[in-house]
Every structure is written in structure tokens, then in C-alpha cells.
């Protein structure tokens, strides 16, 4: 009887070996027919809605690049098309590692990443270990950039810059201006950071935080917080809701008749589905974004047209940041002239290029310096640009800006 | 006196399963325990083995009150039992079933070799030696009963409670079982035997106690008890 088990064990081992051996065969060194680029994204699981936007951007962009024959590589003195391998990490940090290792062995020259701090925090470290660039929207988190990792580049904005922006925006409005702030803090890293800068900014700019409450991801009932903020008389509501929380929060605010003058939320309202999901209730909600499909910067018309054609709608905010990451990569590869990871990293670090999301160049820590940030306000199912940061001054004519409107009470809408 | 039960009572939702029962078991005897279905025999076994706690009354083993002890303690003090509806460890082999008894019973051992040798011995004794590597789930009714007995014996009990060991056996098998029970007694173990097969219980018991509706209705030598009107009525119903 024993023997049978051993046979089973052994055949099991053989199966493993069959799995392993083909992958052990040496990959012959030949002239590259393609430039291999991986994209490890959360195509399934809770982060899928965001990562899908990035995937769409990469596909549209590299289709365009390949339609033009690929990227010109000096070393071979010809254009080489890009082969992009999209790998799913199931919104699971462990799978992120798994797929990045696959990308590593596959021979990708760089990895294009998705969005969300989880995959960013884990993925960039693997990239560092493998000495392969991780370039993508990343996340708004500031902490991941403070760890001395130099193979990561985020084309997204960061909390120290978007958080205080709200105060600048309010200050740019004529008096009377709201002064009292309420903060709904979700138990996530980037939100914790944002709250810190909201606090500092409030002190500096003379705002008063009258209500601050922390809550956990997965909360379904926000009425305790809303009641609290209402009781404290907060006129400005700051928050970092995860996408599935946005509509519930707004509906409960209306039900409880809480009337802040300004709702400034990072994340949840940026998706183009936020407005349709809520209808007129979405009006007046403000959200900072790193790209808008209304930006009249060159390349966007084409991106929007293609996005409309393939996906039936204009690009979402993440689409632009991801598209920009693709542009940065192609630009860097072109400048590097060779298909070497280290060389590509070095050229990316020296990037100073115009993208669909404005000019991008990186700090030594890999975040985009002087990144264009827009504030959108929902109105009638559309996201209007109502404010932009200093970086936006250079794009004045490209940004169709309208005036910020204070949110009227629910009863008069 | 080995086991004393003192005014033992147990009720289930108003129904008195055992009603102020006094019963003594003497060292070295085979006590036959009879009564119709539902008369409380199995409940009494459950009380003695500690699976149920009495509402009132005491059980003493060699003068020590075992009423508050948990089942495994009672087992380790020397009371083993079998179940009427056999409870074999179905996914384990016969050998392993019996090894459990040896390893955890009255003379616990950490040595699997010792437990195995002892278990093999007992399986041979009981007549299951050939099937020691069978899974218990593959055994037939008769073998399961044997296995239960073997497992109980392996705990090295001083007192063994056999619950309907012979039900459903053919006459020849009953004969064999009777010989077995006597052999067990001869090895120095006191037995309480619950049995429906009257032939068997009368054949092997030194003493018989009959109960009905949780109360003792007769006690004494087997032939006498079985002739008592109360007992016959309890079994066959009142004759008109």
C-alpha cells in the first residue's frame, strides 16, 4: 500500500518538474523582435475598477505606438514594436509579487503599474529588488516614496500637494468663505497622510477643524459621522472615501439634511461612474484629479476619441495618468537607445516631457514634481474643472475652467 | 462491592428515565440487566460512564464518588462501555480503534508499539485479528460490535458495560459471544450486560436486575427473575 503513495508522490513531483523544466530551458539570446513591457494590474478583486482604467490607457497608447512602427532604438537603428504583457494580480499583494517575478523572467524592460497603495507599496519593492522600473499612476501616498527606492516612478499626485489645495481653492473665492472643516478619515495609509496635511494646512490658513472621525473600510452606515459633522456646524467636508462608499455617503447626507458648502473628496467622486450612479445628487461634489478628459492638451483628443470608440465613454481620470506613464516610458526608452533596465531607469529619472497630463519630471524619490492637479466639480452629470494648482498656470489656455460653486442646501435644489 | 448507585434519578423534559434507582454491582460478577425498550437501560449506562449527569443521586466506584467526574476520567478509573448503536471511529482501522482504548484508557501509554501489540492481542482475542487493517466503516454489524468490545477491553477496565452486544447475532454467534463474555469475566473484569437476547443473558448472568420505566422491578437469580409476572408483563404486555 505504501508503494502506491510513493508512486503518487513521485508522479506529483514529475508533474511539478514538467511545469518547471520547460521554463528552465535557456532563453536564447537573439535580436529582440519586440520591446517587452509588462503591466501587472489588479484586473480582478476590489481594485479592479481603477486598474481597468489603467489597462485601457496602456492598450490604447501602445496600439498607437505600434501603429507608428514602435519605438526607435538607436542600438539597433530601427523601430521596434512594443509587446505588452498584462498580468493580473487579483488585488492581492502576494500575487503582485508572483506576477512581477513572471514579468522579470519574461524579460520585460520595465513594468507599468496600476493604481492603489497596496499594489504600489508591494510592487515597487519587488521592482527595486529585481532592478526593473515600476512606472505608473501608483497612489497618492507620500510614505512609499520615503523609503529610498529608486526604481519606482509615480505619475500621480501626492497627498502633501492635493490636501492643502482645497484651502487655496477656498481662499481664491470671494468672501464670505466657509471656515469650519469636518474630516471623515478612512483607515487607510493615504488618507491618514492626507488628514495630516489637512490639519497642518488648516492651521496655516486659518481654518478650523470642528469635527474629525475615523472609520473602517467596509462601513455601510455613515450617519453617525454625518450627524456629528452636522451638529458641529461644519461647512467644508473633507474625506477620502473608497469608491463604493461615495453614493451611500451622499444619499445619507441628503437624508439627514446635512448641508456643507463644499464637499472635497479625494478618490470616490473621480470615477466617471460617480455622477451617473448618483444622478443630480452628485452635483457640487469636488474632487482633485491628476487628469481630466476635458484637458485640451495635445494627445487627449486622440485618447478620448479612441477611448470613446472602444469603451463607449471618454477617459477616466486614472486613464490619463496611466497614459502619461506610457508616454514617459516610450520617451525614456527612446532616449536610452538601448534595451537595458538600468539605462531605462536612468533616463526615466531624467524625464522632462510633455504628456497628456501635462509636463512630467520626477523627484529623486520618484514622484512627479510640479504635477498638474485639477479640481473637478460635478454638475449635471459632468465634471467641470473649477480649480488648478500653480503647475496649471502654464496650461491656462488648455484648461476649460468654470467657477466653483458653493453647494446650495438640499432643500433648495 | 464494586459499584454502588444510590437513589439515582434522571429525567428528560418531565419524563423520568431513571427513577430513584439503587443498584449494587459486586466484584467479579456478571450482572444481567434487562427491561423492555425505553425502560432506561441505556440512560443508566450513560450515567455510569459520565456522558450524562444525574439529576440526583450518587455513583460510587470502590467507594469513590465518580458522579462529578468527566467521562474520560471515569474511563481511566476503570469503567469501560460499549454502545448499543455502535460508535466505531469509522475512518480509522480496527487496529487504530482498539489502540485508542489502550493508549488513553486505564493504563495509558505513549508508546505506539506497546499500544499496537496490545491492540493486536485483543483483536485476536475477540476474533478480529484478520481484519485489523480494515477500516471500521467497512466492518459489518457483528464485527462492529466485536470492535466496540475490543476497544472497551483495551482500556483495561475493572468494570465493563456491554450494551446489547448480541442483538442481531445468529444463534451460533450468540453462543460465541457468551463464551467470550465468560472469558472476559474470567480475566478478572466485572461486567454489566444489557441484553435483549434473553437466552444469552440468562445463560451468562450471575445475577439479573430487571427495570421498567426507570424503576427496578425485579432482582435475583436469572431463572427466578424471568419467571416473575412483572417481568413477563413488562416484556410481553399484560395478559388479559
Amino acid at each position: 500500500m505504501k508503494k502506491k503513495w510513493l508512486v503518487i508522490l513521485f508522479s506529483l513531483f514529475v508533474v511539478c518538474a514538467v511545469f518547471v523544466i520547460p521554463s528552465m530551458l535557456p532563453a536564447a539570446k537573439k535580436a529582440p523582435e519586440t520591446i517587452k513591457v509588462s503591466a501587472v494590474l489588479s484586473l480582478t478583486g476590489p481594485f479592479a475598477p481603477l486598474a481597468t482604467q489603467a489597462k485601457n490607457a496602456y492598450q490604447i497608447y501602445f496600439e498607437k505606438v505600434n501603429a507608428e512602427g514602435g519605438i526607435f532604438i538607436k542600438e539597433f537603428n530601427k523601430k521596434i514594436p512594443v509587446e505588452i504583457k498584462i498580468l493580473d494580480d487579483e488585488s492581492d499583494g502576494l500575487k503582485t509579487i508572483l506576477q512581477l517575478e513572471v514579468a522579470n523572467e519574461w524579460g520585460a524592460v520595465a513594468n507599468l503599474g496600476g493604481i492603489g497603495c497596496t499594489s504600489f507599496e508591494v510592487g515597487t519593492v519587488v521592482a527595486q529588488k529585481n532592478k526593473m522600473v515600476w512606472l505608473g499612476p501608483g497612489c497618492a501616498g507620500w510614505t512609499p516614496h520615503q523609503r529610498g527606492i529608486n526604481y519606482m516612478f509615480s505619475t500621480f499626485f501626492k497627498t502633501p500637494f492635493i490636501s492643502p489645495l482645497v484651502y487655496n481653492m477656498i481662499m481664491s473665492m470671494p468672501e464670505p468663505r466657509p471656515k469650519k472643516v469636518a474630516i471623515f478619515e478612512i483607515n487607510q495609509l493615504d488618507c491618514e497622510e492626507a488628514v495630516e496635511y489637512w490639519r497642518k494646512g488648516a492651521e496655516k490658513k486659518g481654518f478650523e477643524i470642528v469635527y474629525h472621525q475615523k472609520y473602517a473600510l467596509g462601513t455601510k452606515d455613515f450617519s453617525a459621522m454625518i450627524t456629528g459633522a452636522k451638529a458641529a456646524g461644519a461647512e467644508i467636508l473633507l474625506g477620502y472615501p473608497a469608491p463604493p462608499e461615495g453614493p451611500a455617503m451622499i444619499k445619507q447626507m441628503k437624508e439627514l439634511d446635512y448641508n456643507p458648502k463644499l464637499i472635497y473628496w479625494i478618490r470616490a467622486p473621480e470615477a466617471s461612474s460617480f455622477g451617473p450612479a448618483l444622478g443630480p445628487l452628485a452635483d457640487y461634489v469636488c474632487v482633485p484629479v491628476a487628469w481630466s478628459n476635458q484637458l485640451a492638451i495635445s494627445g487627449n483628443d486622440q485618447l478620448n476619441a479612441q477611448h470613446q470608440k472602444v469603451h463607449g465613454k471618454l477617459g477616466d481620470p486614472i486613464t490619463g495618468s496611466a497614459y502619461a506613464a506610457g508616454q514617459v516610458l516610450v520617451d525614456a526608452v527612446k532616449r536610452a537607445g538601448i534595451l537595458d533596465r538600468k539605462a531605462i531607469r536612468d533616463t526615466i529619472a531624467k524625464t522632462d516631457t510633455e504628456t497628456v497630463a501635462g509636463r512630467i519630471h520626477f523627484s529623486p524619490q520618484g514622484w512627479a514634481v510640479d504635477r498638474l492637479v485639477l479640481v473637478l466639480q460635478w454638475k449635471d452629470g459632468k465634471q467641470n474643472i473649477v480649480y488648478y494648482n500653480e503647475a496649471g498656470q502654464n496650461y491656462k489656455k488648455n484648461i476649460p475652467k468654470v467657477d466653483l460653486k458653493w453647494q446650495p442646501p438640499w432643500s433648495s435644489r | 462491592m464494586m459499584l454502588e448507585m444510590d437513589s439515582l434519578s434522571k429525567s428528560f423534559g418531565g419524563l423520568m428515565a431513571i427513577n430513584h434507582l439503587d443498584l449494587d454491582v459486586y466484584k467479579g460478577e456478571i450482572l444481567g440487566f434487562i427491561g423492555p425498550n425505553g425502560s432506561g437501560k441505556t440512560t443508566l449506562f450513560n450515567l455510569i460512564s459520565g456522558l450524562l449527569k444525574p439529576d440526583s443521586g450518587k455513583i460510587k466506584l470502590n467507594g469513590i464518588d465518580i458522579t462529578p467526574l468527566s467521562s474520560h476520567k471515569i474511563c481511566q478509573m476503570g469503567i469501560a462501555r460499549t454502545f448499543q448503536l455502535t460508535k466505531p471511529f469509522a475512518q480509522m482501522t480496527s487496529l487504530e480503534n482498539v489502540m485508542v482504548g489502550k493508549a488513553f484508557g486505564c493504563t495509558p501509554t505513549w508508546s505506539m508499539r506497546e499500544a499496537k501489540e496490545e491492540a493486536e492481542k485483543i483483536l485476536r482475542f475477540i476474533g478480529l485479528g484478520e481484519k485489523s487493517m480494515w477500516r471500521a466503516s467497512a466492518l459489518g454489524v457483528v464485527d462492529r460490535k466485536k470492535l466496540e468490545t475490543a476497544r472497551a477491553l483495551a482500556t483495561k477496565p475493572k468494570l465493563l458495560l456491554l450494551d446489547e452486544m448480541m442483538a442481531g447475532l445468529t444463534p451460533t454467534e450468540v453462543e460465541e459471544a457468551m463464551v467470550l463474555v465468560k472469558k472476559i469475566r474470567d480475566s478478572g473484569i466485572t461486567l454489566i450486560v444489557v441484553e435483549h437476547v434473553m437466552e444469552a443473558i440468562l445463560g451468562i448472568s450471575d445475577r439479573v436486575v430487571a427495570i421498567n420505566a426507570g424503576e427496578k422491578i425485579a432482582e435475583g437469580a436469572p431463572q427466578d427473575v424471568v419467571r416473575e409476572r412483572k417481568v413477563i408483563e413488562a416484556y410481553l404486555g399484560e395478559e388479559a
Binding site: - | N37, L202, V226, L236, G237
Partner: protein, 237 residues
């Protein structure tokens, strides 16, 4: 009316019935007698379709039952009141009785039958809103029989109706059984109380280790040593 021809039945790998045959005529009470674990209940379950036989056939009024699922067998007018009484402990008495009449056959004449059952067991009427679990054993048995009757059976199979009951209650139940029989319902009875069983039954089968070993008129068996032996063993008498 009922004809069981040479059936074998297995519990998983265990053979429980060996070549069992049995007949029952219309209006008869037939008793099945045997020791614990001899296969009486198994036989009833086989007829009721809970444990279909692997070989042999079961005919009821000329229709083969052994291939039918149990809920269909009820529709043919064969009803089993099992040893655990087959009632729903978490439901009240009238709900239990209603479910007894779940079959199309029973539903048609539900009201009349209900009337009959309440006439037979008046206590059930008083307790009709009480949870079954809170009834006494005798009441539960009455309910079980009543519930069985509501399916309008032609053949009622009773498994140990006196189990765990006081003698007086047993007597009442058996009186009821006789009354039921007088309304034309045939009865197949498994009973440990041999005297009572043989007094009400016309014929009886003795079953041992899954085999029918004897078949006799009840009144003859009443004086037969073998019956006593089946229960009290050879040392008696």
C-alpha cells in the same frame, strides 16, 4: 393487496434483509415480530420507499412500488408511521396533521379525515395549537397515527406504536388501531408488545436476522414457544 416478493435490502455495504417475502390482504392486521435489529423496521422502510430494495419486487394492488419514490408511494395509499414517529417537533399539532394530508389523495378529504382523527383522539383537538415537542409520549404517538391517517391510507404501517408508553396509554392506542382497522384500513404492525400485537393481528410473521423464519395465524403463535423464545430466549419455560 400487498405483496412483497423476495426482496434484499442493503444499508450501504451491509445487507439488512435477505430474500424477504410477505403478503397482506385487504382489511387485515398483520404483525411483524422479531428481536431488536432483526430487520422489522427495515422491511417497513423498504415498503415505504425510504430504503428501496436492491432485488425483488413490492406490489401494492398490483402496482409495483419498489421503483417509486416515497412521496409517490404515499399517493398510492401506503403510509408508514416510523419508530421515531415521523412528526415535526417544531410545528404545532394541527400543522402536523395538515402536513399529514399533504398528498393529493389526503388533501381531497382532509376535513372529513380530520374530523375522524379528532374523534379518535379527542386530546389532539384540545392540543391543536400546542408545539408537538411539548406533547407527552402518548400524545405524540396519537398524533403520529393521526397524521398517518390524514394521508387516507389503504395500508397503514405502524412501527412500534407502544414504544416507551405506559400500559394504559398503549391500550388506548391499540383500541384506536382496531377502530382504524374496522374502517377498512389494512394494518402492518411492528410491535414489541407481543401479546397485544398478536391479540389484534390476524396473522404474524417472525423475522430473525433479516429473514422471515415463520408465518402463522396469530392465535396459534400466541401459544407458540418460538415467540417467547424470540424475546425471552430458550431458557424460558
Amino acid at each position: 393487496m400487498l405483496e412483497v416478493n423476495h426482496i434484499d435490502t442493503y444499508y450501504g455495504e451491509l445487507k439488512a434483509l435477505w430474500d424477504v417475502s410477505l403478503t397482506l390482504d385487504k382489511g387485515e392486521i398483520v404483525a411483524l415480530i422479531g428481536a431488536n435489529g432483526s430487520g422489522k423496521s427495515t422491511l417497513l422502510e423498504a415498503i415505504a420507499g425510504l430504503l428501496p430494495p436492491t432485488t425483488g419486487e413490492i406490489l401494492f394492488e398490483g402496482v409495483r412500488l419498489d421503483k417509486e419514490p416515497s412521496h409517490r408511494i404515499v399517493e398510492f395509499g401506503v403510509c408508514l408511521v416510523p419508530e421515531d414517529r415521523g412528526i415535526f417537533p417544531g410545528m404545532n399539532v394541527s400543522e402536523n396533521l395538515e402536513l399529514g394530508a399533504f398528498s393529493k389523495r389526503g388533501r381531497k378529504e382532509k376535513e372529513e379525515t380530520l374530523h375522524v382523527v379528532y374523534g379518535l383522539f379527542p386530546i389532539l383537538k384540545n392540543r391543536r395549537n400546542q408545539l408537538t415537542r411539548t406533547l407527552s409520549g402518548g400524545e405524540q404517538q396519537m398524533l403520529a397515527i393521526g397524521k398517518g391517517l390524514l394521508s387516507r391510507p389503504k395500508l397503514l404501517m405502524l412501527d412500534e406504536p407502544s414504544l416507551g408508553l405506559a400500559p394504559l396509554v398503549t391500550k388506548n392506542i391499540f383500541e384506536a388501531i382496531c377502530q382504524i382497522n374496522q374502517t377498512g384500513v389494512s394494518i402492518l404492525l411492528v410491535e414489541q408488545n407481543v401479546h397485544i400485537a398478536l391479540r389484534v393481528a390476524k396473522r404474524a410473521y417472525i423475522i430473525e436476522n433479516g429473514r422471515i423464519v415463520q408465518h402463522e395465524q396469530a392465535k396459534n403463535l400466541l401459544r407458540d414457544r418460538r415467540v417467547i423464545q424470540a424475546y425471552l430466549g430458550t431458557h424460558y419455560a
